[in-house]
């Protein structure tokens, strides 16, 4: 028997690859899990696409066209957050559902390697899910998201990282509170969505919730996206705020999940999954 040095980069690559491959098999052989990749993106694309068409027909004019752009760009980009978050959160949950968590914890795989493996395969799921929404928007509602230009790239990267940060919080909550917290894997996004101004400017929110909304990285990323929809120049200041708040959210998410993992080990919560 020959093995690669445990701490070497090649061993890290093997372990991350093993986790990604495992996620691939889960996606391939659990058709119901494909709902997140196909059905919900289709539902959202038709729902918001049709709303956009209705507003354009009812109101007409440049403002209505901009509003329709907000809706369609918003739903395509929201699915970046959604797919990034859901793929990491359910990827970790999968190991609790299949009672594989204990076996994994007793291998050399490190926590970050595990999350990296899940997130890596999540990129493929994200490409499929977002691709479905973007294709419907382009094919059925004549809205091509790539028309927003290269400015879209940093926005997508920021939303991807924000989705991962939210997922880390969900994973931390599941480690601490067990299966009861699983509902957050889907539910937490329902709280983030309206506060992020995905479809409207921050001013449209009630004044009382604006301070909360303004600290979310997604709020600033979607503000940048709306500027691109309106054809305005890239608001670099807002993009910088979005990037900084996202880095802060990622750091907070990592710190939170590390803390919850220590609690998980100290209180012996693994017995929930044996």
């Amino acid at each position: 028997m020959s093995a690669v040095q445990v701490g070497s980069w090649r061993a890290v690559g093997l372990r991350v690859g093993a986790i990604s491959r495992r996620q691939w098999y889960v996606a391939l052989r659990s058709p119901h899990r494909l709902f997140d990749l196909t059905v919900w993106p289709l539902v959202d694309a038709f729902l918001f696409g049709s709303l956009a068409v209705f507003f354009q027909q009812a109101a007409g004019g440049a403002a209505a066209r901009t509003g329709a752009g907000y809706l369609l760009a918003g739903i395509v980009l929201w699915h970046v957050v959604y797919q990034a978050q859901i793929s990491v959160a359910t990827g970790v949950l999968e190991e609790t559902w299949s009672r594989n968590l204990l076996s994994l914890l007793v291998t050399p795989v490190r926590e970050l390697e595990f999350v990296a493996g899940v997130a890596l395969f999540g990129l493929l799921k994200l490409a499929v899910g977002v691709g479905v929404v973007a294709a419907v928007a382009a094919g059925m509602y004549a809205f091509d998201i790539t028309d927003l230009g290269l400015g879209l790239v940093p926005v997508v990267v920021i939303l991807l990282a924000a989705g991962w940060a939210i997922a880390l919080v969900v994973v931390g909550m599941v480690l601490r509170f067990g299966t009861g917290a699983e509902v957050l894997a889907w539910g937490i996004l329902f709280a983030i969505l309206p506060l992020s101004g995905v479809f409207y400017p921050l001013d449209a929110l009630p004044a009382v919730v604006r301070p909360v909304a303004s600290i979310l990285p997604t709020t600033h990323a979607f503000a940048v996206a709306r500027a691109l929809v309106e054809g305005r120049p890239m608001p670099w200041g807002q993009l910088g705020v979005a990037a900084l708040t996202t880095l802060g959210a990622l750091a907070a998410g990592l710190a939170f999940v590390a803390w919850m993992l220590r609690v998980f080990r100290r209180r012996g919560y693994i017995t929930r999954y044996m």
Partner: protein, 257 residues
């Protein structure tokens, strides 16, 4: 280095009380040790602490020279673990499952190691089966293959033969004995099947109320407790713990040091 597992003065408190109270446990290279005790004795908590999954409140654990928790990843690369109660993930075929774990152990040729592992236990024909298509005994065997592919220094088996018929249990025992003899793998096993333990273990460590109350060969432990076999010791401990609150403290005098 002769000791593959050295646990010293392990203590673990849960809200319901003290689960493990000053346990010392040493397993030497190639040694076959059984960790025994009635329900609630602290076996599982001790095992989980030794595997780095539960953090002890006090005490130290070294595996193959790596101290937990800092050296967890290095230590786990030298440990194999499976439990009779753990299922195989439904979505994976046996060869995919084994390949995944071979990669997690960073084996240079995961496919070959998986095949060799299946052949060692005479179950190469199960390579293409899914977890849902296997009997509980076959799942246990696959779990043992998974945990031995990387030829660990320490193999930890929690209730490994609970769901096996005598024929398969014999195959498991033979495979494990060969592994220990060929590679110097040490075995730490828990079981409620005392007959099975007498067949496989050279040394038994009895826990009761979170403390080690006996640590010696099966025959000596049985004789020390005035019983003919380990089942008699187990029953006596279970009965006495129920009636004598301080039994654990009284019989600790018999612990091997």
């Amino acid at each position: 280095m002769n000791d593959v597992l050295v646990a010293r003065c392990l203590v673990k408190d849960y809200r319901r009380g003290r689960a493990v109270d000053g346990v010392d446990l040493t397993v030497r290279r190639g040694e076959r040790v059984a960790l025994l005790g009635p329900n609630g004795a602290g076996k599982t908590t001790t095992l989980l602490m030794c595997l780095g999954v539960v953090t002890p409140d006090a005490g130290t654990i070294d595996i193959a020279g790596h101290r937990l928790p800092g050296g967890r990843s290095q230590a786990m690369s030298r440990v194999g673990f499976t439990a009779g109660y753990l299922p195989l993930p439904e979505q994976l075929r046996v060869r995919e499952y084994l390949r995944m774990y071979a990669q997690l152990y960073a084996l240079a040729d995961p496919e070959a190691q998986a095949t060799a592992g299946l052949e060692r236990f005479g179950i190469a024909h199960l390579a293409g089966a899914k977890g849902t298509e296997l009997s509980s005994g076959q799942k246990t065997l696959i779990g043992i293959v998974k945990s031995t592919m990387h030829e660990p220094d320490l193999l930890v088996l929690d209730e490994p033969t609970a769901s096996l018929d005598p024929d398969v249990a014999l195959r498991v025992r033979t495979g494990l004995e060969r592994l220990c003899a060929d590679h110097g793998t040490a075995l730490l096993v828990t079981s409620h099947n005392m007959l099975e333990v007498e067949r496989i273990a050279e040394r038994v460590v009895f826990l009761s109320r979170g403390r080690v109350v006996a640590d010696d060969s099966p025959a000596r432990v049985a004789s020390r407790f005035g019983r003919g076999d380990l089942e008699g010791v187990f029953l006596r401990l279970a009965e006495e713990v129920a009636s004598e609150p301080d039994l654990a403290g009284e019989v600790t005098a018999g612990v091997r040091t």
